[in-house]
Amino acid sequence: MSDGEEKDRIEFLQGTLDMLVLRTLLLGPAHGHAIAHAIERNSDDVLQVEQGSLYPALHRLIRRGWIRAEAGLSEHNRQAKFYRLTAKGKKQLAVENSKWEKFAGAIARIMRPAEQEGDL
């Protein structure tokens, strides 16, 4: 089987994929395939995007006005849809970011004592 399946994969929490898509698009507009790959690469392949689930997520973000779709040409000169972060989306990313930091910090505070006590 592929090495993706041998590594410990991490399932996406509800809404996390949306946040990662916004974060990826902060670097500039990209098409769906590039977004999926950027997420995988930038997480050292720990996060495997179920690529099919990317499309509902993209359309959800469009609906909320956080990203915009526009036509363009891919690197292989093919017609492809590019997704771009809107001003509203940039603001939302800041919100998501601080929410995430709070969340991650809280989890870390709960988990740390267990490690130190050596109960694991």
């Binding site: 769906g32 499309y55 017609q79």
Partner: protein, 335 residues
């Protein structure tokens, strides 16, 4: 609904592009083209589910705007109760007739098999009158179908269909596909418009592919019409793609139909045998002709057939039930 259609097409193209890019990447990583495409599909996951989930997002988007409108309307109505009462009354009066019309239309037009005016479609079958017959009902052979089509006046069109399988070569891989062998005017008589392409081509062997087969095995490529497919070792030109909601005429489409091919590709001997009753004959009632009038005509014609072809038709009388099959079955299929 135009908006919806455009969104669907764009999404299809987007997903097809995505899979094509992944395939290219895999080839660049050293996989064979067939392997690369397979891996890309596996990585993408279920295309139908991805599309369905996206459609749900659109549905919610519409609901959002409706909800905003509704709240606005209620705020206004509360300010002027007299107008509100008048509006409610006129709405009630307006709804009554349209509800009645809708219940009638629902019965006639909204039957789930997505063919034009499904209530006009009947199936022609034989009933074996011998008390110890092994099969009480029999379908129709191709020569019998041709006789029907030539002689019966009650129908504006008749089509023939026979279920089978076919081996399709795809990127060096062979796949078993559910195939339907049909008469050449099948889609026009049933009133199923092609999603893509003109339909069966005149003068050369052609094949129509189902929407799901097109998305799954042919990458949803929009330039697929006119391309060659190797089906049962024969070169066939793709003439069209069916709309996604058309899954064939069977009540329960299992196994799914992937391809429709002209019945001529079925093999000459099968086409000539009068006792080879391997197909169904579906007929569309001419406007103004009732089911009982049509059955009477088919009955009379079957008695003539029995005299003309005593060896094969002596014990058979006609049976023309309404198609499509009962709704409850169809609904379980549709959802």
């Amino acid at each position: 609904m135009k908006w919806r259609r455009r969104m669907e097409e764009e999404l299809e193209r987007d997903i097809a592009e995505h899979i094509a890019m992944e395939t290219d990447d895999n080839i660049a990583r050293g996989m064979s083209p067939a392997e690369a495409r397979h891996a890309a599909l596996r990585k993408f996951g279920n295309v139908a589910i991805a599309m369905e989930d996206t459609r749900n997002v659109w549905a919610w988007a519409k609901l959002d705007t409706w909800y905003a409108d509704l709240r606005q309307a209620f705020r206004r109505l509360r300010r002027s109760p007299g107008t509100a009462a008048l509006a409610v009354l006129s709405l009630a009066l307006a709804f009554a007739p349209s509800v009645t019309v809708f219940s009638v239309m629902d019965r006639i037009f909204l039957t789930p098999i997505p063919v034009k005016a499904p209530a006009e479609i009947v199936e022609i079958l034989f009933r074996d009158t011998r008390p110890n017959a092994s099969q009480k009902y029999q379908s129709v052979s191709y020569p019998e179908f041709q006789d029907f089509r030539r002689s019966l006046q009650s129908f504006s069109g008749l089509v023939y269909e026979s279920r089978g399988g076919a081996v399709v070569a795809l990127n060096g891989r062979r796949a078993l596909a559910g195939a339907h062998f049909v008469s050449e005017d099948y889609f026009s008589v049933l009133g199923v418009p092609m999603r893509l392409g003109p339909g069966f081509l005149k003068g050369r062997p052609s094949v129509i592919v189902s929407h799901s087969f097109w998305m799954r095995e042919l990458a949803g490529r929009r330039d697929i019409v006119g391309q060659r497919l190797l089906v049962n070792g024969q070169n066939m030109t793709v003439g069209g793609v069916t709309p996604p909601e058309f899954l064939g005429t069977a009540g329960i489409p299992i196994p799914p139909t992937d391809l429709w091919m002209p019945v001529e590709t079925w093999g000459v001997s099968a086409l000539k045998r009068r006792d080879w009753r391997e197909g169904g004959a579906l007929a569309r009632l001419r406007p103004g002709v009732s089911l009982s009038q049509a059955s009477a005509e088919v009955d009379g014609y079957c008695r003539r057939l029995a005299q003309e072809w005593p060896d094969t038709n002596r014990y058979l009388e006609s049976y023309t039930p309404c198609r499509p099959p009962p709704r409850c079955i169809v609904w379980t299929r549709a959802r």
